[in-house]
């Protein structure tokens, strides 16, 4: 049997949803090829008024906080030493690694001179938030790759490299948190240059802090959604007990974000706030989303119910997506001349999203990324204080 036949047979054995994702990825890749052959101007709705569109707003500015789960959870588990959440780490690392790799793909598709992308590493401009983010994304993708090597090393039995990787574990987790703090916030710094362009409902000097704080909540909610989905559709055990713990952290992170957000709105904003009904509506929906998520995660009944918890997480994730679009697109839009993405732009972005799901499922299929056995069945084993009592 030839390799193509083998691959064909393998693909045919996949679930129809995975096959659909594969199709969307192929269509997206074809759209990307079309964009490179005919150029940005011919294939996108970008122009001199809207130099940035869907690809910057979603594939970069939104995708980065969506992939924030890995660094947040790493810090919670290892630095704050909440060990029982450890089983959630590996899937989060895979999501992070995929997310950042696809951010790099999105960036390359969007650049007008993609063959010169490496210039960022050599022509430093410390005053540019873009330089800052590009360096961080590059460094962090490397860190995530190293973290991701652990399940790969296990699969192929590379004992030596596994030993090295386990030694590097703590430094990598801390580096991940440091680098992520920088670029999550610097994505907000991008828009501090748009002084009179971005609407006052979103423009304020604490934008970088808000980007970082909302990314933390967003990352945690993605972990909730991911664990719920893998339980429901990928035959993984229910991690409800662990997700409940994450649910207890979330009211604090969302609450802190809202305090900073409201403070900057009232005390640090210049310019009219409610002069444009469309902006007011977008702002109301966004703030409503954050408040709703806060209220839901503050309710024990919601935190303890798998379905409601997942709904609350979706509310927060959608709200953060809206916030990023408000800042990077809607808040700078000229209402008489609206930008909307072209077919090519849409297909590439859908393809990137589908690629994320597809690669996650495939990696989960071929590598050991779910480590449950000693996670929640015997909490006494993994919780140090409990084990101390049981031994004493």
């Amino acid at each position: 049997m030839s390799i193509t036949q083998a691959i064909g047979k393998e693909v045919k054995s996949y679930h129809w949803f995975v096959q659909l994702m594969l199709l969307l990825v192929l269509v997206g890749a074809a759209a990307a090829v079309y964009r490179f052959v005919f150029g940005l101007g011919a294939t996108t709705n970008l122009n001199d008024r809207y130099p940035w569109g869907l690809w910057v707003s979603f594939d970069v500015v939104t995708a980065v906080p969506l992939a924030a789960g890995s660094f947040t959870l790493g810090a919670i588990v290892y630095c704050f030493n909440i060990k029982k959440l450890e089983p959630l780490i590996r899937p989060a690392i895979v999501t992070g690694f995929l997310g950042y790799s696809l951010v790099c793909v999105g960036l390359l598709v969007d650049l007008g001179q993609p063959h010169k992308g490496w210039h960022v590493l050599f022509f430093w401009n410390l005053h540019s938030p873009m330089f800052e983010v590009a360096m961080c994304v590059f460094a962090y993708t490397t860190v995530l790759f190293l973290e991701f090597l652990e399940p790969v090393g296990e699969k192929f039995g590379w004992n030596l490299s596994l030993k090295v990787l386990r030694k590097l574990h703590m430094p990598l987790v801390i580096a991940a948190a440091g680098i992520s703090t920088l670029h999550q916030s610097s994505l907000g710094t991008f828009f501090l240059i748009a002084v009179e362009k971005l609407h006052s409902l979103w423009y304020n000097p604490l934008l970088p802090l808000q980007f970082w704080m909302s990314a933390i909540s967003c990352g945690l909610c993605i972990i909730i959604l991911e664990a719920t989905a893998t339980h429901k559709w990928m035959n993984q055990p229910n991690e409800g007990v662990l997700l409940r713990t994450i649910g207890k952290i979330l009211p604090w992170t969302i609450g802190a974000y809202l305090v900073v957000r409201v403070f900057s709105l009232f005390f640090l904003t210049t310019g009219p706030l409610f002069d444009n009904p469309v902006m007011t509506r977008l702002f109301t929906v966004e703030m409503g989303g954050f408040v709703l998520a806060l209220l839901m995660f503050s309710t024990t009944a919601v935190r303890n119910n798998d379905r409601l918890r997942a709904i609350a997480a979706s509310v927060l994730v959608l709200t953060v997506i809206l916030h990023r679009f408000n800042v990077s697109m809607f808040g700078m839009m000229d209402m008489n001349n609206i930008y909307y993405p072209s077919m090519t732009e849409t297909l590439v972005t859908v393809g990137i999203l589908a690629a994320h799901i597809l690669f996650f499922v495939l990696i989960a299929k071929y590598f050991r990324i779910f480590v449950h056995s000693d996670g929640h069945e015997e909490p006494a084993q993994s919780c140090p204080s409990a084990s101390a009592y049981s031994h004493g």
């Binding site: 130099p51 810090a75 010169k116 022509f123 440091g178 991008f190 501090l192 240059i193 002084v195 004493g392």
Partner: protein, 284 residues
Amino acid sequence: MSRATISGEPDAFLIDLTKCTGCRGCMVACKQWNQLPAEETDFFSGEGYQNPKEMSENTYTVIKFREFEKNGHSIFSFYKEMCMHCDDPACVSVCPVNAFHKTPEGPVIYDAKVCIGCRFCMIGCPFDVPKYEWSKKLPLVRKCDGCYSRIKADLKPACVTACPSAMEYGPRSQMVQIAEERLKRHPDHYINTIYGKDEAGGTSVLYLSSEPYEELRFPSVPERPLPSYTWPALRLVPGIFATVVTGLTALTLFNHRKERLERERNKEKEAEQQRTVQAEEDKS
């Protein structure tokens, strides 16, 4: 030797809109010097008697036409749109690869060789000056470079040379002085502002006008240089990184220390238990 090295300060354009006849000689000179192709246009594509509609990859300067009401009368006015050559430019600060430079002579120039095409300069520029080669497959940014090659050869910019009435070019302080003298001499003729003197921290293009700048739809721009809005966040980057990394390291060591101590204490207790058990066994 170029002009700036003689005068010791950057040169600036002074554009007196009250003296602009709207002949568009500057636009033709700009196209010729920079060898920019013509654009296909409609006569009434922009504000009115204006062609082309706006600056683009092939048009670095446009004479804009504005029509508005003043004291119940219909008024029209022209203004020249071009790169403002800011003293502390946003494009220079946001470019991740240093493709833009503010030259000591005044013009802000662009290095196409290093540009990666991220278009952050277009987002950053408060005057929306950088334009993109949307017609190309590997597009670059295009904008007025203040005829830097002419400046280097001790010539004035092409548009200034072509202008019969409204433009002057020379050391910035001298241009400001001329503008202030005109404002003083004809206070009822001019709006009492030199646009560009303080806008975006000061620019190398200065305007005088008899009509309100808002009516001409000059962009409203803060007086602080634009990079001073992003730098306060960016300069914290090393500090924040150091704080997060040391903070988390300390937290990790502390939390794991507690765990380690507990483990040691348990071992001791176990050893003690064993000792007491052994002692009892010995007794029996």
